[in-house]
Symmetry: C2
């Protein structure tokens, strides 16, 4: 495993040609030789016929052809270079806990992929796709023996289609990317205050009044479930109740605690509206609704949300209070537990297991339910100790836009979970990333999920000991590019968004600035302004990436230069070039911002101070490099002045953060990263 | 029309904010005011219900939302800002010669689009989409009155799905882009020596033996025809006979003049294989085949190819010769005319009008057929004079990768056609671009078609007097970006292809080089090497654009600087910056090329001399600018040396041409462009 797990250094040719494997497999043993890829490449299932696996192998070859630019027509007279042996297809749908292992052997003659189930075979194909490198003789796969299996059986990603509408193609391309990094649960948040996104034939006003016409038809839902299944992914739907239900109430106000009328929510944040737990009609409605949805979603797990219920309406409703008293429910928490018990029984009747967020945890609920912990590792451990199975989501909120290192560093078994007994630990099924969509759209969703989700997928799949952050970053960048071949748009949408901001004017000055900033997460944007579902999402804060790859490269270079000024000429040259670019960029940026008229367009005008700061950072960086190269310490007043300036620049502006401060700060502090 | 048709100057803020309209409408009258776009924007059909037009309006709003980044949810309580009035839906399918006109009025209050047919309304929506600009207050449409109608009724694009397979999504996104520039005929080249691409249920060996499994099912074909119809586009299928038929013969060798067996062609070029015209079984087969295909393709026009028939097999076949003698057919040309007469009758029986390439023109064929002229303007005029209707394709071969100015300068009514009588001229229906696919793949197809096809679309739609090349280029660049919002990948695929070439290493040095070169067309690539359908298409020659936008900007700047050295500081700065970039780039490029090992990867190694040449051009350019700024003539020996060097560099290398020579040459020649 040595060859692939080395911490990757900056601009290292030997390692740049190494494959970017993510998640890192359990065992990787390099062998002698290599499999050269050309137009005669062909793949075949050599075990019992399986149309779905055949189709997956077909997709694999199409992607291989795309990632190499080599036509692969499956010539009749060519022998298969990849043979896939699958012992059994496994269950009709991917199932929690099934054997997902595989073994892969690559030699000069060909590749052999063996797996006990279709899911295992699918994972093996993805690993093979990641093994392709460009070398001296063209595209090839180095000979290797790989054995692999996941650490956790539940490796999920939650997508929120309620806050901003996510068209079908966004869902599908994210399923492809999920499969590419071996995630196996698509948790689909389908209703919230701002939208109800599934067609109900039984209760059509749910989508008619609750979705602005933006919902998935039942055929589309079925299509997504099949699409996911064919990629080894379970679909767990979430209908969040009894809070987060304003969009339900737009069509069916009689379900609400208050009389209504209700309208689709446009603002973000927590709403007070909640279903009325005191009326039998509420449960009758849910019973019929679950029956309909159970027919659409074959997975045994069914998510009812249950988070952030505001008790105000219940407390102020005489009807609810009288009913609560009658039933000995002393407070809102008891009311919700009662409600959940009823709901759990309705689901059980349909063969469904209830999942809910932390708040559903209550001694009155049976141990069969699953708790998804968003509030912390403590509640996960608590649930496990009490006999409940659990999934960790705390720490994995992608919409906070923290650097990949942060969620990568959170382990489902760390924190309070570390103190559990082996039996209790076994109840922790894995983890799920959450991608809430208040600040993402169809256009930006991919770049807020990828490539960081690949790092978290590694956390869920690979061994606990796989946690070297430098190695993760170096591989993540390669995987990020490779993910583009699956069709995900996280890189492709960047340039068009910047071009839109300049209205067709030359985009380069904006791109230099955009590469040097990072987008802010939900909390900071929420504090920065008043956003609703009608707010344009066309600013730099939307186009900018959560984590700047180029700034990270500069940080690594700065650390090297500080540690060994004489021994780092390439790093010094890189820093000089970038600092000079920042410095020179400002004049061009200011000209661009002014071009559309006296004040310029608002999209660029708000960035003018940022551009000036970037130029100042470039200047400071160049001066620091001069001093370092001369072996001198920079003047104390310069250091003091710059330290103060950088502290100012570190405060968010225009809802982005100036990542460019970081490498300069490293030089300024003399290497204390 | 003044405001939009001005020749556009370099970096002019006022005009940069002007909309990029292409094709330019017949009448454009600016008015006072502007329509500001925000989340309340809503569009509605206010005339008789029409589900297809409704869907088109829905797609328009989705694209408007994407091109502005503003959510447009069609809020219930908002009044429509765009009202569409369509007098009548028109025919079930778009029809040759139907009224495609429209009138558009935009004011501060809203927009009104009026059209006599659905096709006209569709065109008006595209114009409205192009009118959107980013201004000081955000995205808006300046108030305007537009009246518009096409000059020619047949405005086509031919796509070749036979040489390289074009997946369904390539076809569909190109239909979207076609509609965006008001093209109305999709000519689909579906069979050739290298592939038979349609499922035949009657003769399944056509696709089974002739397609490597890469063909469109009948359901998919029907889907494409509907998709095109919904966008105002006719689909004209082409099954090329009696030559270009090797892929037919793979499954049905008995149709061939020679006994076979046959295999799918892998090489490019003209094959000798031809159907046997002497056997009745050939016509019986075609009769049944046409019956099946007539059911799939509702358009009355049906293309039978008929080009490049090699007479060798016919001449050498005793059977064919005996039969020819019996029928008084004195040569291959007479044989083909006989064959075409039979085929024409078979088609007529199915209500189809025969179209063929030049070669079908023969006095024995009835005047109802249509001749598509690929060999020159002369044959088009000749056909028209003889009473045949015709379409011009000569000059519009996109696969030759000539700059947009070239096909833009070819007018269907120029050349020999100019001498025709009005009655004869009326037989010239319009034009069609051809995109033969020997040197394109699904990945590169879009960039070989777009944006140049937009300029040719203007030739087919706009007035004959609309021919200012500078204005065309300035608008084409804007339209090119806008076309990205329709989903076409001509810009999006560029960066991933470059990244693939570097195997994950930093791509910038390659991008600087790639921006300075241009891809070569079919003829030059054909001469450069032996290509087959199995050749990798992953080199710079595939990634590079047919026409470098950045080099064109430098050419314009160079012309300005030469004409007025003191008055062009912005242009001088632009040239200096780019020349310096080229010069500095070579060291980084050579390092990149060497990184993957001793010799580097073949994809980069072949570019090393080009990179050195680019650096030399940068150096020469900087020296020339120095001399110009000093008001001095450059030294004679320098001029002589550079002239020689540039002449050398102008020869293609690595199957690309170094476009960067052009601006330097302008400076060197002192302004003679």
């Amino acid at each position: 495993m040595l060859r692939f797990a080395l911490p990757i250094t900056l601009i290292s040719s030997a390692l740049a040609a190494a494959p970017a494997l993510m998640p890192l497999p359990v065992t990787v043993r390099p062998a002698a030789g290599k499999l050269t890829l050309d137009a005669t490449f062909k793949a075949a299932l050599v075990s019992a016929p399986d149309a779905r696996l055949d189709a997956a192998i077909g997709r694999f070859v199409v992607r291989l052809s795309r990632q190499t630019g080599i036509p692969m027509l499956g010539l009749k007279d060519a022998a298969p270079k990849l043979r896939v042996e699958c012992a059994g297809a496994g269950s009709e749908y991917p199932a929690l806990g099934e054997d997902e292992s595989y073994a892969l052997d690559v030699s000069s003659e060909g590749a052999l992929l063996k797996a006990p189930t279709r899911s295992g075979a699918l994972h093996g194909l993805e690993t093979l796709g990641q093994l392709v490198v460009l070398a001296q003789d063209g595209f090839e796969i180095a000979a290797v023996h790989i054995e692999d299996a996941p650490r956790f059986p539940w490796r999920g990603l939650m997508m929120d289609s309620a806050r901003h509408w996510m068209p079908l193609e966004v869902v599908k391309r994210n399923l492809d990317a999920m499969a590419a990094v071996k995630l196996n649960v698509f948790h689909w948040h389908l209703s919230d205050d701002q939208g109800f996104r599934v067609e109900s034939k039984r209760f059509p006003k749910l989508q008619q009044e609750g979705s602005d016409g933006l919902f998935y038809t039942q055929d589309e839902i079925r299509g997504v479930v099949e699409y996911a299944r064919d990629r080894g992914i379970r679909v767990v739907p979430e209908f969040d109740i009894p809070g987060h239900t304003t969009a339900w109430l737009a069509g069916y106000p009689e379900l609400g605690t208050n009389p209504g009328p209700y309208q689709i929510g446009r603002k973000w944040g927590v709403y007070e509206n909640a279903l009325d737990p005191s009326r039998e009609e509420t449960y009758a409605f849910l019973d019929a609704f679950f029956e309909e949805m159970a027919g659409l979603f074959p997975d045994p797990y069914f998510h009812i949300g249950g988070d952030e219920v505001v008790d105000k309406q219940w407390n102020e409703s005489a009807r609810v209070q009288a009913w609560a008293k009658q039933n000995n429910l002393k407070d809102a928490r008891a009311i919700q537990a009662f409600f959940n018990q009823r709901v759990q029984k309705l689901l059980e009747k349909r063969g469904k297991v209830l999942i809910g967020w932390d708040e559903v945890l209550h001694p009155d609920l049976p141990q069969g339910i699953v708790v998804q912990s968003w509030r912390g590792q403590k509640s996960l451990a608590e649930a496990a100790a009490k006999g409940y199975r659990g999934i960790l989501s705390w720490g994995y909120y992608l919409d906070h836009l923290r650097p990949a290192a942060y969620p990568y560093g959170v382990d489902p078994m760390s924190g309070d979970a570390a103190k559990l007994s082996p039996e209790e630990k076994a109840r922790i099924l894995g983890g799920e990333m959450c991608m809430w969509a208040e600040y993402t759209t169809a256009e930006t969703e991919d770049s807020r999920i990828w490539p960081r989700a690949a790092a978290v997928a590694e956390r869920f799949w690979s061994q606990e000991s796989t946690k070297d952050v430098d190695s993760m970053y170096a591989r993540m960048e390669g995987v990020s590019r490779w993910l583009g071949w699956t069709g995900i748009q996280h890189r492709a949408n960047y340039a068009p968004m910047l071009e839109r901001m300049t209205g067709g004017r030359p985009v380069e000055p904006l791109r230099v600035l955009a590469d040097a900033v990072e987008a802010l997460g939900l909390g900071q944007r929420h504090r920065a302004g008043t956003f609703t579902s009608l707010t344009p999402m066309n600013r730099l804060a939307d186009a900018a990436r959560p984590e700047s790859e180029s700034v990270r490269a500069l940080e690594l270079a700065a650390v090297r230069v500080v540690a060994d000024p004489k021994g780092s000429p390439a790093e010094t040259a890189l820093l000089r070039r970038e600092f000079a670019r920042w410095t020179a960029n400002d004049a061009r940026f200011q000209e661009l911002a002014a071009e559309s008229g006296p004040g310029g367009t608002p999209l660029l005008v708000e960035l003018r101070p940022l551009s000036r700061d970037l130029a100042a950072l470039g200047n400071a960086g160049l001066k620091l490099l001069d001093a370092i190269e001369k072996g001198q310490a920079p003047a104390a007043d310069f250091v003091a002045g710059q330290t103060k300036e950088i502290a100012r620049m570190e405060k968010p502006a225009a809802e982005v953060s100036l990542a460019a401060t970081r490498p300069v700060k490293i030089l300024l502090k003399g290497g204390k990263k």
